[in-house]
Symmetry: C2
DNA sequence: TCTTATATTAGATATATTCAAATATCTTCA
DNA sequence: TGAAGATATTTGAATATATCTAATATAAGA
């Protein structure tokens, strides 16, 4: 997505394309990791120190709410974020908390499974275990 | 599980059966909700004011590590806990953050799906949407 | 260019969680 | 039983994470 495309997608959802908001979006889109809010704040300000912590949080909240960004909660650690591009599932490392993408596949909800009066919006799989780095470290010892 | 059973399962994993730890475990087992650490602290102390916040957190950490309790991270909210009885998946309400159990079924990892050098330990499905209470409220308006 | 709704900022505050050191309690075995 | 040593708990303070406030600035349409 080019810079114009980011601008357009922000405007489509009724958010102004401010430099700070644009920077968050552009960073997330160019980032294969799943950074925390603090990491996003640092990265954006490393390039051009013009954003505050509160703005970073505000923008992340708005972008998540608008559906452009996904927030992944991780047990005992800060939340992580990624731009919603291709749909995907997540792998979370039990040891270091790292979040990685797992290629999307459709999860079929078994016909027998009742969700009652709940409204289902989404259905994702969380894989847990050791990321390749932690798996290697463990094998070394 | 009776009180003896709790005692035994704690000792099996090398944790002493202290009043505080027992209280956390017993409360979680008798609780259909998925309480936060703060709610667990309150509930345990409502009965018998003998535990501190730090102890509650310490015990939860130990119980999670030992595999008797599951921690569920929820976006933008405090973590929630439940005793691992029957295996189950989770439904998280996007609106109120409520966590509910969903009947367990085995998730087949597609043969085509490579997790690379990662070590897979667990695979759970997170359903997201509106819980029945929030769905009703929304329909009312 | 002007206007105005929206966004940003710094710092204060709230909430969630962990840490460190002192104290208490178990367990073992003499 | 009763020391001694190991383990657990408590407490208050520290840290991490996230949100709020109110003053100020700015994007974008008229």
């Amino acid at each position: 997505m080019g810079s114009e495309a980011i601008k357009r997608s922000l405007e489509e959802i009724g958010l102004r394309c401010t430099p700070q908001r644009y920077a968050v979006m552009a960073f997330l889109m160019g980032c294969k990791e799943h950074p925390t809010a603090a990491e996003i704040f640092d990265a954006v300000n490393r390039v051009d120190s013009r954003s505050s912590r509160a703005t970073t949080y505000n923008n992340l909240r708005d972008l998540v709410q608008a559906g452009l960004v996904r927030e992944v909660a991780v047990e005992g650690r800060a939340a992580r974020f990624d731009a919603k591009g291709m749909r995907h599932h997540h792998f979370i490392c039990d040891r270091c908390g790292h979040v990685e993408d797992v290629k999307w596949y459709t999860v079929r909800k078994p016909a027998s499974l009742s969700l009652g009066k709940r409204v289902l919006r989404e259905c994702e799989v969380i894989f847990r275990g050791l990321c390749s780095k932690c798996a290697r470290r463990r094998a070394d010892r």
